[in-house]
């Protein structure tokens, strides 16, 4: 028996040797490798080449570059020329203080200052490269006018920049994920990647910029680090925390890993332009599964508040409206827009049709009585009746005695048929990552800079306290672009000091 086993083991080993294909391995080199070709990575690659890097390689896991930035509508800046030309006052000092106060000074103050100070100049830099802006706006009623809307959205910006890549000696490798950092004597000296043919690429470089976009699509990391792992991801897929994992292996410290980029509550499978979704995202009446209000519905203005309130009340809400309010949304238009895709005052012409679809999909409910509606929602009838009676009395008194909502959004629920539409917490990304300096250099768990390693965009932490800050419209793509430039400018100088 023992001999047979030995023979078998030998045979196995022998066949394994024969069977294994000779995996090709290639050695490449570049001045700088950027891992991830989203907004921050593309800008970092462009800016570091502009700053003097002779050769740059951008590794992109997906078949096309752009990541979530493709869908960005506009970018934050404080005191830009575009703002000045429109008499919009948003001094950099004010923006800095607002961000720091919002974070209760948990944010990295030096990083926030560097970001805010860079932001107006970045608008001009983008314009110099050929990027155009369509308008300046805010993303909720009364919000700061900090949102510089890209012509052709984020993709428009990316197209302008990547067009010049060939002449700048920037090579994009798609379907080629970065796997590991190459570290020599404590200094980051390149990246191991794997291309679409399964070949291992050892890319030796003087500096590495990590820009893989956070970990929203990595369930395990979401469970480990965040407060509500079941949040519905919106936007680009494939954000699996590759860069953060690589940096953790290199002993990087982290910051703000629990901060998720909460989005407006919604339904999975409904497109952003859905009128059913737009009807949910109005500041009228929201209840939880107990049929009780759980927030001042104006949290939809700065929607991370909505995410927080909904998550703590269990993660399932219903927006409730009557035939009157439905008619108002269809004929007069909505009070709160859904970004620039469904702007404020849009008349929800498709709402009836979309409601039918919602009802068929069991996410929207309608009944001629509150009792009937509660039954369909699975909410306690008495609770819902009491909630609506109280809410209607607030509407009559023009004062929300419960959550102090602006009375102009107290729309009574009196005229049948009544409607209830489900919504759950959604998120656009994660916002924590490596702990960085104001030059986006990654710090180790010992508090020292890891030479040659930079983290940008949603792979870098330090911009937030406990929640996503929506005061400054365009802040996430703003941080992606500005941090990309900040890292690039430091890296361009750093690589001059490195012998390869």
């Amino acid at each position: 028996m023992r001999r047979i086993t030995q023979h078998a083991v030998l045979l196995c080993l022998l066949f394994q040797l024969v069977a294994l294909p000779a995996f090709a391995e290639k050695n490449l080199s570049a001045d700088v490798v950027v891992i991830g070709g989203g907004g921050s990575g593309i800008v970092a690659a462009y800016a570091v080449a502009q700053g003097g890097a002779q050769s740059v390689i951008v590794l992109e896991k997906q078949p096309a570059i752009g990541g979530t930035a493709k869908y960005a509508e506009g970018i934050f800046a404080a005191d830009s020329k575009i703002q000045q030309e429109r008499n919009i006052l948003l001094p950099k000092d004010d923006a800095f203080k607002m961000i720091m106060n919002y974070s209760h000074w948990r944010a990295n103050a030096k990083l926030v200052r560097a970001f805010v100070d860079k932001s107006p100049e970045t608008i001009e830099w983008l314009q110099t490269q050929g990027v155009e802006f369509a308008e300046l706006t805010s993303n909720y009623p009364g919000g700061l006018q900090s949102w510089h809307i890209f012509n052709g959205r984020g993709k428009g910006m990316l197209d302008v920049l990547t067009q010049k890549f060939p002449e700048m000696n920037i090579q994009i490798m798609t379907e080629t994920p970065g796997k590991d950092l190459i570290i020599k004597d404590g200094v980051v000296a390149g990246v191991v990647a794997e291309n679409r043919d399964g070949e291992t690429l050892n890319i030796h470089a003087k500096a590495v910029i990590v820009a893989t976009g956070g970990f929203l699509n990595n369930k395990e990391m979401m469970s480990k680090y965040t407060r509500f792992p079941d949040v519905i991801p919106v936007g680009n897929v494939g954000k699996t925390g590759d860069g953060i994992q690589m940096m953790l292996s290199a002993d990087a410290a982290t910051e703000g890993m629990e901060v998720v980029q909460s989005y407006r509550p919604g339904l999975s499978g409904e497109p952003t332009t859905s009128h059913l979704l737009a009807s949910v995202r109005q500041p009228y009446l929201w209840v939880d599964t107990k049929g009780e209000r759980f927030c001042d519905e104006m949290v939809i203005f700065q929607w991370p508040f909505a995410g927080n309130a909904l998550e703590r009340s269990g993660g399932l809400m219903f927006a409730i409206y009557d035939a009157n309010t439905k008619k108002y949304m269809i004929e007069d238009g909505i009070d709160v827009g859904v970004g620039v895709m469904v702007p404020v005052k849009t008349k929800l012409a498709n709402l009836d049709k979309d409601l039918q679809r919602g009802i068929a999909n069991n996410v929207a409910f309608t009944a001629d009585t509150i009792e009937g509606l509660a039954e369909k929602m699975g909410a306690p009838i008495d609770n819902l009746k009491e909630t609506i009676e109280l809410y209607n009395s607030f509407a009559q008194q023009k004062h929300d005695g419960q959550f102090a909502k602006d009375p102009k959004y107290l729309r009574a629920v009196v005229t049948p048929p009544f409607f209830a539409v489900e919504a759950r917490p959604m998120a656009l990304g994660t916002l924590g990552g490596a702990k960085v300096t104001q030059d986006m250099q990654v710090l180790s768990t010992q508090g020292n800079v890891i030479p040659g390693l930079y983290a940008v965009g949603n792979d870098a932490g330090g911009m937030y306290g406990d929640s996503y800050d929506l005061l400054m419209a365009g802040s996430t793509i703003g941080f992606a672009v500005n941090s990309g430039r900040m890292a690039a400018e430091h890296a361009a100088e750093y690589i001059k000091t490195v012998q390869q």
Binding site: T5, F15, V18, A64, K353
Partner: protein, 114 residues
Amino acid sequence: MLRSILICLCTVYLIGPFNARAIEVNQIHRENDITCKNCHEIDEPEKRASDQACIDCHSAVPGSVKTYADRGMELLVNIHDSHEGQLRCTLCHHIHEPSDLYCNSCHELEIITP
């Protein structure tokens, strides 16, 4: 027990490499006598075929499909004019295994990918 595991393992190792070599193309390419070399340039391919290999035969691609039919939101989109830019043909059109529409990693397009 150990013995049977080992026998199984050996069988897998024995069959594995032969299977890898006997890789097959789909029916339509088989019927048109497409060989490895036609697409991969060599008889024992080491790399994916290039887009040019596809385009050499498929010079015209059909473009328009109706999407979102399941949701009552009919949109006419050109499936080959993706907002992702020019993608490689074999990302969706697989030759050695069933095809798989890349768009559907985010969207829900009800179309058949040949």
